[in-house]
């Protein structure tokens, strides 16, 4: 069942539910309220700060742990716990049940990890979970949920679910994500959530007192295939970068040199996306760039020479990597850094480069900030107007003749955005709905309309092209959330066209795919 069909059925069922007769008798409710005198609790009302448990997962553990550093001052006395809330909640039962269930899941987690109790208790996540157990057993927590009308079972379930999540290991978390993904990669937004949650878990499963900080977290290489399967492709460079690991104490690489060049290219591809940033981690990428340039974190020129040069000439392996970086697209930072260096090196037979000698670590940091912020520059650029004259119309007609019977959705790959919209209008003029359907994007991440439904919607006859449109102008809009290039074609209408649509200009959206520019199913803006 495709997405559109599914949505249609759900919508139909929704309408069906709306036919359900309303049977609640308001007067009976009022009567019940007036006959029952609600009991007022003798305990004074308190103002609770809303627990931070329900906010985004990435902050949950950190902020939750912080809130536990200063435990609530109104923690329950045994006497208070013996009370039953005004809605009938049994505090003692709830806290005991949370305690009992937590003990079970804690033990289960310990056995799974194959640790004795002492070792297990040294894991930071376990410390958080133990503290969390205390928090959830407190009157404050139970009372807060009481005000929402939650039942005993739902309060217990909330607490135990949260504690289970804290004790879920990074590997288990990824396995769950993989199982839930059904072999479909996550969107950019979801990928960010999954990766940041996973990295947080890696940190939380360090030992208490470990000197590992958030910016040092390393993804185990064994988990890269699973992450690749779950995350949006744009994250590929980033996860490989996070798998690179720490430097040695001497500030040297512990991985092959060729990896640095590849990683730089991949990470620039990742963070070129609007949704992905390395803010807070930029020093790690700056280290990577500096290492690629100098071979070591040392600022001593002699160390650079010793590592990268042999008999006064840059090592062949390094030459090949720098050339590869210099050949990257001109709008990339790696090209900007390495192209002038490679040119100078080539001019001197790979023996020297003044630009290279003068680059400092601070320069590397500036380059990386530029790499991350480049995406924030507005990608919009407006092209020149393409006039719809006899020549243009003939060109569109020729495309129709050449391509109408050609199979394959990539047959329009070579066409410009203006030509795609021109063809769209031309097909409309000819009543060629089946051909026009080929111009739409086939991608479940965008709205889809089944072909039979589209064809049944009837033809829309446009005026002959020259009588309808004056000019097409393409406006590049950069990347959308799915990582595809997008744009608009501004359609300047003739007087007749404008009177038909009651506007002189229409905008058609387009998306760049492997098969060329395609339209989404509701293309007009």
């Amino acid at each position: 069942m495709d997405t559109h069909h599914f949505e249609e059925r759900m919508n139909k069922l929704k309408k069906g539910y709306e036919e359900m007769e309303e049977r609640t008798d308001p007067k009976a409710v009022i009567s019940a309220l007036t006959n029952k005198e609600p009991e007022r609790s003798k305990r004074p009302k308190k103002n609770w700060i809303v627990p931070l448990i329900s906010v985004a997962a990435i902050f949950t553990l950190f902020l939750f742990a912080m809130s536990l550093v200063n435990p609530p001052t109104n923690s329950a006395s045994e006497e208070e716990k013996e009370e039953v809330s005004e809605s009938g909640l049994d505090f003692v039962y709830i806290s005991q049940e949370i305690d009992r269930q937590y003990a079970e899941i804690r033990e289960e987690a310990r056995v799974k990890m194959g640790l004795d109790d002492e070792e297990f208790s040294q894991i930071q996540a376990v410390v958080y979970a133990d503290q969390g157990r205390n928090h959830f057993m407190s009157v404050d927590f139970i009372d807060y949920h009481d005000t929402y009308g939650d039942t005993e079972e739902s309060i217990i379930e909330t607490a135990v679910d949260e504690l289970s999540w804290i004790l879920t290991t990074p590997e288990e978390f990824l396995a769950q994500q993989y199982e839930n993904s059904f072999h479909t990669k996550r969107s950019l937004e979801e990928s960010g959530y999954v990766l940041s949650s996973y990295m947080r878990k890696l940190l939380d499963f360090e030992e208490v007192g470990s000197d590992v900080v958030a910016s040092d977290v390393q993804i185990p290489e064994s988990q890269l295939p699973t992450l690749s399967q779950i995350l949006h492709p744009k994250f590929e460079g980033l996860i490989k970068f996070y798998a690179l690991g720490k430097l040695t104490e001497a500030g040297e690489m512990i991985y092959p040199y060729e990896l640095t060049a590849r990683s730089l290219i991949e990470i620039e591809e990742s963070i070129s996306d609007e949704a992905i940033t390395i803010e807070g981690e930029s020093h790690r990428v700056a280290n990577l760039l500096y290492l690629t340039l100098k071979g070591t974190m040392s600022e001593n020129q002699k160390d650079h020479q010793a590592i990268l040069f042999e008999n006064g000439v840059l090592k062949k392996e390094v030459q090949d990597q720098w050339k590869h970086l210099a050949e990257q697209p001109e709008n990339t930072v790696v090209h900007a850094v390495f192209a002038p260096i490679v040119k100078e090196m080539l001019d001197t037979g790979w023996t020297s480069s003044t630009t290279w000698e003068n680059i400092s670590y601070e320069d590397a940091q500036i380059y990386i900030r530029e790499m991350d912020s480049a995406k924030y520059k507005v990608a919009q650029s407006k092209g020149d107007a393409v006039l719809v004259d006899a020549q243009f119309e003939q060109r569109i007609h020729n495309y129709f003749k050449e391509l109408a019977l050609v199979p394959g959705l990539d047959k329009y790959k070579a066409l410009s955005p203006e030509e795609i919209v021109g063809l769209y209008h031309y097909y409309g003029q000819l009543g060629e709905l089946e051909l026009r359907y080929e111009l739409y994007i086939e991608d479940e991440r965008y709205l889809q309309i089944p072909k039979d439904e589209y064809l049944a919607s009837g033809s829309i006859e446009y005026l002959p092209l020259q009588k309808y449109v004056k000019a097409y102008t393409f406006i590049n809009q950069g990347l959308d959330l799915n990582g595809n290039e997008t744009g608009l074609v501004e359609v300047e209408l003739t007087e007749r066209g404008a009177s038909t649509h009651d506007t002189p200009v229409m905008l058609f959206q387009l998306i760049k795919t492997e098969d060329g520019w395609k339209m989404p199913f509701m293309p007009t803006q």
């Binding site: 139909k12 036919e19 359900m20 609640t24 019940a32 029952k36 005004e86 739902s154 059904f182 959530y193």
Partner: protein, 185 residues
């Protein structure tokens, strides 16, 4: 108008609260039914919801009324069946509905067999998938509203709705395959 009714009800105006019940009883009844309540139990559950809501009326902010409405309805529905195990309820429900869909009195408002079948499939979903799906599709809640109602993260809400859709699609494909006599490999 709802805000004024809530304000008045908070001041003790029972006629305002009565009007509030008229306004929202349909929402409560439909949501309870969609969450798994038996049709015959819906009026009792709904009455209990409004009694509980009144008790806490003075405690919540007016702009969070619908969040409360859904939360209390969900909890009241769960409470109503707390003594039955999930399995016996499902068995009972399937026995009543699954063998002869559309022939019980409760389903007469679902006109088509396709609707009755879809309702049945939704009821077979685990609650953690069913409820977010119901809130999204039938109560038109946003992801963030659902996250607030169910005390889940936004990411979890999205994942559960996605999973629910996949499970329903799979159920339909299997059914269609059975009806057409195809066997899966």
């Amino acid at each position: 108008m709802t805000v004024k009714l809530i304000e008045a009800a908070q001041q003790g105006d029972l006629s305002a609260y009565e009007e509030l019940i008229y306004t929202y009883r349909g929402t409560v009844e439909r949501f309870a039914y969609q969450c798994g309540a038996d049709y015959d139990d819906v009026p009792d559950i709904s009455q209990e919801v409004f009694i509980r809501l009144y008790r806490f009326l003075h405690q919540f902010q007016r702009d969070r009324f619908t969040t409360w409405l859904y939360k209390v309805t969900l909890n009241t529905t769960r409470d109503h069946y707390r003594k039955e195990t999930q399995e016996t309820r499902k068995e009972k429900r399937l026995h009543e509905k699954g063998v002869l869909p559309g022939q019980t009195s409760e389903d007469t408002f679902l006109q088509s067999e396709a609707d009755r079948e879809l309702h049945l499939q939704i009821q077979k979903l685990d609650e953690k998938y069913r409820v977010p799906l119901v809130l999204y599709y039938f109560q038109e809640c946003s992801y963030s509203e659902i996250a607030t109602i169910l005390s889940l993260t936004l990411g979890t809400v999205k994942i559960r709705i996605h999973r629910a859709k996949d499970l329903l699609r799979t159920a339909f494909e299997e059914q269609e395959a059975k009806l057409s006599g195809h066997t899966s490999l």
